[in-house]
Amino acid sequence: MDTFNALLTGFAVALSLQNLMWGFLGVTLGTAVGVLPGVGPALTIALLLPATAKLDPTGALIMFAGIYYGAMFGGSTTSILLNTPGESATIVTAMEGNLMAKRGRAGPALATSAIGSFVAGTLATILLTVMAPVIVDLALKFGPAEYFAVMVLAFTTVSAVLGASAARGLASLFFGLMIGLIGLDSQTGQARFALGIPELLDGIDVVVVAVGLFAVGETLYIATYFNRESDKLEKMKGSIWMSRDDWRRSWKPWLRGTALGFPFGTIPAGGAEIPTFLSYAIEKKLTKRPEDFGKGAIEGVAGPEAANNASATGTLVPLLTLGLPTTATAAIILAAFQQWGLQPGPLLFETQPALIWGLIASMYIGNVILLILNLPLVGIWVKLLEIPRPLLYAGILIFATLGAYGLRNSWFDLALLYGVGLIGFLMRRYDIPVAPVLVGMILGPLAEQQFRRALAISQGDLMIFLKQPISATVLAITALVIIGPPIWRRIAARRAPRAQAPKG
């Protein structure tokens, strides 16, 4: 009941002309950057941070959220028509989707991903609406020890558990944490790691790091290793609409994709890649026409597309209720909150209900706009794919350097930008994940603050983290998450030879 009233208030905020405009701008920009390879939502929001500092936070955050889930819609268009994923979360879509396009079924592929994204986005927003107040109630009981524990869990899952290598993920996380240290200590005002350079006293701006990694690093990487083959853009032939058979084969994968994607987004496990891969595997197993997989099966597009959208919305649950970012984009949105002095978490639901519920309500509206933008108007976005690669990346770099230089008109930030770009280049080349850098950099200072507060309360007794039931439970889960997979792998490895033994 309370939730319903809160949501109605939210709609009153989101439906104001000004906020509708921000929402529309956000989802349009989101679709565009989703379509364009080389630009993602994290980079776009980072570039817009300085320009929006003086705006009303509600409108700007509605726009940022729109960019985030709008990019998930747009990314599928590129995957289907170009076989180059527009976003990392749409890699799986590129497999079956591009095969469909090659067989002249680009229209239905685009339709099932747009409608699936809409269904998943809307269902996930409903789940967000229902779940957020419940988690907020729980989170109101959190003290510094509990917050520190959930942050440690987020650090662990984002860096060590998912991804190819725990060592590389953790290296990336610690690097981000180190960047977060630079500047004045929030509690004592001591300068740390400024190395006597006055520019470093303010710390390194998240814009420089995000833009350096995602724009400069990515540009260097693509130019150095991937500029030889030219992309082949599939023509959109025939009807965009789905046949009755397409609908029959799509609706179950949409629902299953949503059911997979949303929980993966909400737990601090970061990223939409895993639920999309899982969704693909499940659809391949459940389909009545396994012979179609590998030739362009619509189920293989519908499921993963629903999963990545549900997951993007799911990441907003820990972000809004606990202030916990689990993806690079969520980390940048947290930095956006911070630039207005806002800290997402249970208290924000009490102090700024209009902002929070306006943001949630705007997502219902945004999903409808996105359905229109990506279905009847998909032809406009396809034009974006015809921009030659040299001009596209040259344009990206103009905005990237502008974003870094515009912070305080200092060449020092441009030097940092190139430095971070070189690091980003190496990370891409050597398969080191980038997201932990941003999560570590933005969440690290908050974690340190909570840690020190907890110990101030307990008079320096470290056992406080194990004495409080909630923090002890969360830390136990963290330990399980670290120890579990290697043990599981060892058991599996021991079983495998036994299973093969009779044959050999």
Partner: protein, 161 residues
């Protein structure tokens, strides 16, 4: 499970870099003044932990590099033939932009940057690139200075607009 025969110098260098960085963080942490106050934990503990973390990650990655290479690295044929010319041209573009923007202004610096990046990506139409670059730079300049109130250097156009 065939281990790669040779040691990859890049992997070893990154691992070494992490160890050096971590050790530097630990060393530099000692220069942070420890305040004795009401807080039980001062500004040093976290930097120490992070320094140790970086060093340990570097050590593990170094050991991996020496014993058959980093684990679970996806093989990508494209990595076999890097185009260092493109890397150099793009780097030159970014550095040149940094050097000239202060006195030549945003429009000229961005135009040079645009043309060099496009060249790095193999564009053979410098005139077309330059025209697009000037138009884009001028539009962006006015959008951000007049529209969003950002202050960008004008260079030689100081006083012209």
């Amino acid at each position: 499970m065939t281990a790669r025969a040779r040691i990859h110098p890049g992997e070893l260098a990154i691992a070494l870099g992490l160890v050096v960085l971590g050790s530097f963080v630990i060393y530099e942490t000692q220069n942070i003044a420890e305040t004795q106050g009401y807080a039980q934990i001062g500004p040093r503990l976290f930097p120490y932990l992070i320094g140790v973390g970086l060093t340990l990650c570097g050590a593990v990655l170094g050991w991996e590099a020496l014993s058959g290479g980093w684990r679970h690295v996806p093989l990508d044929e494209a990595h076999e033939a890097p185009d260092w010319m493109a890397f150099g041209v793009i780097s030159a573009g970014v550095i040149l932009h940094m050097v000239v923007i202060g006195w030549a202004g945003f429009i000229i610096a961005s135009t040079l940057l645009f043309v060099l990046i496009a060249r790095g990506f193999g564009s053979r139409k410098p005139v077309r690139d330059a025209i697009i670059a000037v138009v884009l730079a001028v539009v962006v300049f006015f959008l951000f200075t007049k529209g969003l109130g950002l202050n960008l250097p004008k260079g030689p156009f100081e006083g012209v607009f």
